[in-house]
Amino acid sequence: MTSLRAYIITRISLTIPMILVLVTLVFVILRIMPGDPVRATIRPGSAPEYIQEIRHNLGLDKPLFLNFRGSWAEALSSSVVLRDGPSSDEAPALILEEGKKLSITDRVTTLEGDWVRLASGRGFEGLISPQRLDWLRRVTAGVKVLEETTIDDQRWVRVEIPGREIEGWAPVAELKIRTNIFDAQYFNYLFSLLRLDLGTSIAPVRGRSVMGDLKAKFPATLELSIFSMIITVLIGVFSGAYAAQRRRSVADYGFRIYSIVIYALPVFWLGLMLQLIFGVRLGWLPVYGRTGTRLAPETISGLFVLDSILTGNLASLISAIKHLILPSLTLGLYLSGIFTRLTRGNMLDVLQQDFITAARARGLPERVVVYKHALKNAFIPILTMIGLQFALLLAGAVLTETTFSWPGMGRFLVDRIAYRDFPSIQGGVVFFALLVTAVSLIVDIIYAQVDPRIRY
C-alpha cells in the first residue's frame, strides 16, 4: 500500500507542472498573441477613456510578466496635481491628497522626466477639476458634488463618485513609488486561479462571475458526457470484442471500416443528420434544448435525469431523456470508433495468452472464453482509454452542444466568443484544461489501484 501512496504522490506532483504549463499556454494565447480583446469587445468609436477603464478593470494595463514600473504611489508633498496627460502643459484633472495611495497604471519617459498614470480605484472621493467633472457627468450617474474650492487660482470641486475610477498623470519626482514586481498580469492571473477566481465577464452583461456561469453550465455538459460515454462503451467494447473474436472475417473488416469512417465524420454533421432524420422527418425526438418548456425539474444536482428521478417528476424525466437521446447518441457514436479499435487490439492481445488457451482446453464455450475471461482482462486498459479520450469527448461536446443548442459549457464558450467576452473565454478554456487534467489524474490513480504493476 505504501508504494501505491508513493505512486499517487508522484503522480500528483507531476500534474502540477502540467497544469502550470497549460494555464501559461492559455495566458500566452489570450494576452500575448496579436489581437486586443478589449478593442474587439467594444463598439468602434467608443471613448478612449471607456476602453482604458475596461482595460484597467481587467488588469490589462499592468505589465505582462514582471512589474518594474511600480505598483503604488503616494504623494511626497502635501498634495500632487494629476493631469490629463504626461506633461505639465496638460490640464489638471484631480488632486492626490497626502496619505492616499493610488495604483500605477502606466509609465512613460518624456522630455520632462518620468511620468506615471495613477488610478483611484473604484469609488472616488476627492478634488477634481470642473472640466473632468463635466466629462464624468456625461458618462456616469451618481456624481455627488460636496464643495467647491480654489487652490492657486485653480477651481476644484470635491466630489464623491461611487463605482467609478478617476485617472491622471503625475511626474515620478513628486511621488513615493512602491514596487511589487509580481504585480503583473501573469502572476495576478495565477493567484486568482489559485483562489478559483476566473474574473467577471465584459459582454453581453458586464460583471457576471465567470466561475458562477461555468458552474451553472457544467451539469448539462456532465450529463451529456455521461450518457455519451455509456453509449460509446457499449458500442465500442462489444463491437471491438466481436471483431477480435472473428478476426479477418467480414464482420471484423466491417467494424474496422466503421471505426475509420465514424471518426472521419464531422461530429456536428452527424448531429445534424440525426436531427434531420429523427427530429424533422420522423418527428420522434426533439432536436433542441434539455427539456420541454416548463418541464425542467427542481434543481438538486443540475443533472436533469437524476433530478427528475429524485423529485419523482415523471413528466420531466421523460422529457429530459427524450432530449438527451440525440445529442448523446451523436457524441457517443463519434467516440465509439476509437473504442472499437482499441478494444479490438487489446482483445487480440489477450486472446493469445495462455490462460485463454487453457480455458479453451477446459472445453468452455467460446462465448464464455471471449466475453467472460478475455473481455474482463481487456477491460482494464479500456478504463484508461476513457480517461485518455476525455479530452476528445470535451472537444466533441463543444460541437455537439452547439448543434443541439444544449446549454452546457461548450456552447457557453462558443456564445461568449461571439461576444468577444475575453474573461469568459479565458475562464472557460482554463476550466476545460483543469477538468482534463483532473480526470486523467483520477483515472491513472484508479488504474494503479486496480493493477499493482503500475508503479514509479
Binding site: L25, I29, W269, L276
Partner: protein, 296 residues
Amino acid sequence: MDRAVAVERVGILGRLTSAARWYGAEGYMTMVGGLIVFAIITISLLSAFYPGMAPYNPEKSVGIPFSSPSRQHLMGTDNLGRDIFSRIIYGARVVMAVALLASAFSAAVGIPLGLLSGFLGGKMDRVLSLIMDSIYSFPGLILAIAMAAMLGPGVINMSVAIAVVYIPTYFRMVRGQVLSVKEELYVEAARSLGAKATTILRLYVFPNVIPSVVVVFSVNIADAILTEAGLSFLGLGIDPSLPDWGYDLSRGKAYLPGGYWWIITFPGMMIALVALGFSMLGEGLNEILNPRLTER
C-alpha cells in the same frame, strides 16, 4: 517473410502501386484513400486556375432559393439561391489550403524540435516534452477555438490556430523514433568513426524518421480538415462570403426545421469523404511503410 523481401526490391513507387496486391485489405484501403486525395487536390487546383469548372458562380444567386436537387442544380440551391454544387467545388480550395498549411506548419515546428529534443536529451528535452505533453493532453479543438478567436478570421490565421494543436503529434513521434534509432549499432559506428552530431542527425537519424512522418502527415491532414470544418461551423473560419463547407453547414442548420436536407447533407458529406480519404491513406501507408509495426 518473403513478402517483406519482395517489397524491398520494388522501391517506394513500386511499393505504392503494387500495394493493393501485396497487402490485401490494407492495400486497397491505401488505394481508395489515395484516389480520394488525388481527386480532391485536383479539384482544388483546377478550381483555382480554371474558374469555368463549376457550373455557376458560387458567390452569386443563380436560381430560386431552396430549390431541391435537380438537373439544373445537382445539389440544389441554398437560402440565397446559390448553387450548392458550385460552392462545394470552390469550398474544396479553402479546406485544403487550411489543412495543408496547418499540417505543414506543425511539421515544420514539431519535427526539428523532436529531432533536437530526442538527440540532445537533457534538460531541454525534459522541458520541451513537458510542454508538448501538456498541449497534447488538451482538447485540441478548444485550444484552436481560443487561438482562432484571438487571431481573427483568415486562411493563415486559421492554419496557425490549427497548427499549434498538432505540433506535439509530430514532436512526440519524431522524438520517440530518434530515441530508438540513437541506440542502433550503425549510429554508434558512425559516432566512433568521428562523425559530427549534425552528420549523424542528417544521414542516419532523419531518414529513419521520414516514413513515420509521411504517415502522421496524412492522418494529421484528416484531423486538420475536421478541425477546420469545426471552427468554420462555430463561426470562427474565414470570410463568410467565401464558399466554405463548415460555414455552409452552420448556415444550413438554421433551415433544418424546414426540411431542406440538401443544404446540410452535401457539404458535410464532402468533409467526411475528404477526411476519410486522408485517414485511409495514412492508415494504409502505415501498414506498408512501417512493416515492422504491422497491425496485429
